[in-house]
């Protein structure tokens, strides 16, 4: 990433923080492993999703965590629909 992007978390209820590719990859990677993807495949999928997000947020200085989740779900659903389902729904299981 050539420029830093601020991420507004939970509609401003939690402190804003800088975008972290590592964090995004970790969450997508975990979602892939949850549906029993192989480690290499999970890593590759996480990297592809992070690439898609970075392409989307080019020219943006501030985004919300909800935006990231929505865009990541969209990218992930093309690559791994099962993982995308859990990624989208993990907050509405309880």
């Amino acid at each position: 990433m050539s420029h830093s992007v601020d991420v507004v978390k939970r509609g401003g209820k939690r402190p804003t923080e800088a975008y972290s590719r590592k964090k995004l990859e970790a969450s997508v990677y975990a979602a892939c492993l949850s549906v029993r993807s192989l480690d290499g495949h999970a890593k590759q999928t996480a990297a592809q999703v992070a690439d898609a997000i970075e392409a989307w947020m080019k020219n943006k200085s501030e985004i919300t965590s909800t935006d990231i989740r929505r865009q990541a779900s969209k990218a992930l659903s093309k690559l791994h629909p099962d993982a995308a389902y859990l990624y989208q729904h993990h907050r509405v299981i309880l």
């Binding site: 975990a30 492993l33 949850s34 549906v35 099962d82 389902y85």
Partner: protein
Amino acid sequence: MDYPTVFGIIGLAALIHASFQLSVSMVTLLSGHSLGSKARSNHTMALVGAFFAGVVVMTMLSVSFLAYLGEQLFRHGVPQLVWSVVAGLSMGLGVAVWAFYYRRGKSGTSLWLPRTMARFLSERTKATANTAESFSLGIASVLAEGIFIVAPASAAALAMIHLPAPLQLAGMVLYTAIASLGILLVIMLIGSGHKLSHIQRWREENKRFLQFAAGSALLVLGFYVYVNEVVAAAALARGGM
């Protein structure tokens, strides 16, 4: 009360208990996070097994506590007033299950729980890394749903105290076994390698049916208990039947 009636009430009450979804949601979340954190399959199954043990222990403790309480309070038979209260509670909770067991307008399987409590349980479930914690989460999941479980568990406990002691134990085991069937099934699916997304998708697609079935069964239980233990008993007492 004859044995078929007692075991019928225990069976129906346990099926209603089994249809409640908090424990199933928590075990889905627990196994998802365990698999997602690259835990070995054995470790995931140990966590899930400990959770199941917590659910079983708390279910058995709840129903045995209620049965003990009933035995101590109603040594000469359960008063019709108490059966009426249990029937009313069942019917009221049946309507409540229909109305708000799952949150309206939400995707997923969001339950009636206050959001702060749901967030707390969710965070704890995600952070669970050892079996002792997992066991206590299983206990917490039964306690948290106590408001709905109280009606079927009370009906089963009051029916159980009509049995001789060895059969009371059998009744308790039967109730616990049936009430834990749903979660056991999910654990078996996870253990046999089924994808969590498929399990969760099935739960989401069928949540309205499960809600309708649980609410209706509570109404049926309440109605049956009222007719069998209050109306019929009153009619018998007057020599009308």
